[in-house]
């Protein structure tokens, strides 16, 4: 019997603390598999955010920092400047990256910091119990938008990838999803590309992954995948927003 699929060694054996069906787990696995496939696990230094993935340091089998809320890009900058040859990545939620950490991600991109950001957009603050994120959709309910997000009051959801794609040193920016196997495969490809470009010293790389939060969306995991596809994807179109011109 050949092993077709098994847990990658870049993940520890610890069971994820995520809610049932939360796609944070899938994204963790993809990142870990890419590290392993690129032979970077031993070389990697990751940065966990504050958000549901705060314990990411327990799951990735590599050196890790736990950063203050939103500051992972600054922490990663510090790390990468000290260890320019290591593979450095941040793993951040949409509250963490798009709200409190907005300046840090824009400036890491501007400077072309040579690390990779995995940006998990679940349109909500998961960990703190379902408050509105900058990415929360119009009409979507959140505990701090109890009647649904109102564009006149709170504006329109922030399209982070589109915004960062205006920055030249953000050399790779792609939005992917993990709501079915096909998209999971594509997501992995994008993540792999991002790490490869990082190791080639090309500049800042970011993969935005649309993700579910069954708990705070108030849906079953299966319904959540559907909701992602039907509601998030139209507003947050998948695709590559920047990629270096190949020579």
């Amino acid at each position: 019997m050949a092993v077709i699929f098994e847990k990658t060694k870049a993940l520890t054996d610890k069971t994820f603390h995520y809610c049932p069906g939360c796609t944070h787990g899938i994204i963790h696995r993809l990142v870990a598999e890419v590290l392993e496939e690129l032979n970077l696990t031993d070389n990697a230094i990751g940065v966990a955010p504050v958000g549901c993935s705060v314990f990411a340091y327990d799951y990735f089998n590599c050196d890790m920092h736990e950063a203050a809320h939103g500051r992972a890009p600054a922490v990663a900058t510090g790390i990468k400047r000290v260890h320019p040859d290591n593979a450095v990545f941040t793993y951040q939620g949409d509250g963490d990256l798009a709200s409190i950490g907005c300046a840090e991600i824009v400036h890491a991109a501007m400077r072309g910091e040579k690390f990779t950001t995995i940006f998990v957009n679940n349109a909500i603050y998961g960990m703190t119990g379902g408050q509105m994120a900058p990415t929360t959709l119009i009409g979507q309910k959140a505990t701090t938008a109890p009647l649904g997000r109102d564009e006149n009051h709170a504006g329109l959801p922030l399209k982070v990838s589109e915004m960062l794609a205006t920055i030249p040193k953000a050399v790779f920016v792609e939005r992917v999803s993990v709501h079915d196997v096909k998209h999971i495969n594509q997501a992995k490809k994008a993540i792999k590309k991002a790490f490869q470009l990082q190791m080639e010293g090309k500049g800042f790389t970011l993969v935005e992954v649309l993700s579910t939060c069954p708990t705070n969306w108030g849906k079953t995991p299966v319904e959540s995948l559907k909701w992602l596809q039907e509601n998030m994807m139209p507003y947050f179109p998948l695709g590559n927003f920047r990629t270096p011109e190949e020579v």
């Binding site: 603390h17 809610c19 049932p20 960990m127 708990t215």
Partner: protein
Amino acid sequence: MTHEIIMAGFGGQGVMAMGKILAEAALREGKNVSWLPSYGPEMRGGTANCNVIVSEEPVGAPIVTEASAALVLNRPSLDKFEKDVIPGGTLIINSSLIDKKATREDIKVYYVPANEIANEIGTGKIANMVMLGAYLEASGAAKQDTIMEVVSEIFSGKKAEVIPLNKEALTRGAACIK
């Protein structure tokens, strides 16, 4: 008399609501009360618990470390809280989900097949009220009537049909105490 109660179970078992109902009822009976939930990520998937204090005196610390009673709805809660019951105190175990027996000998232990009774009544969701019924009977912390007054207000309107089920749950729970 001061009742210091720990109520604990899985996330969806309604331990928080059960605690609030007791506190509200006791308040209506003129008692001093407090209700303190566990909070934060530990609740996610894991266990949830709350502390309720019902007292003639002003309530001191809202946190219960020496419980006059513990109501445990699942196995991890039994493991965690059995030790916190004071000698002579009361431990009520949801025997539907907990196959283990209590190890303490210096406390009163009651086994209530709460989920089974709840299913018999017709909705598994009110296992918590079965437990509460048992506790009221064992402690006298509040009257069933006052509890039902609170329950009736919560389920006023469309959901009123569940009110009698709650009453039955309390009664059936009480019947487990002997």
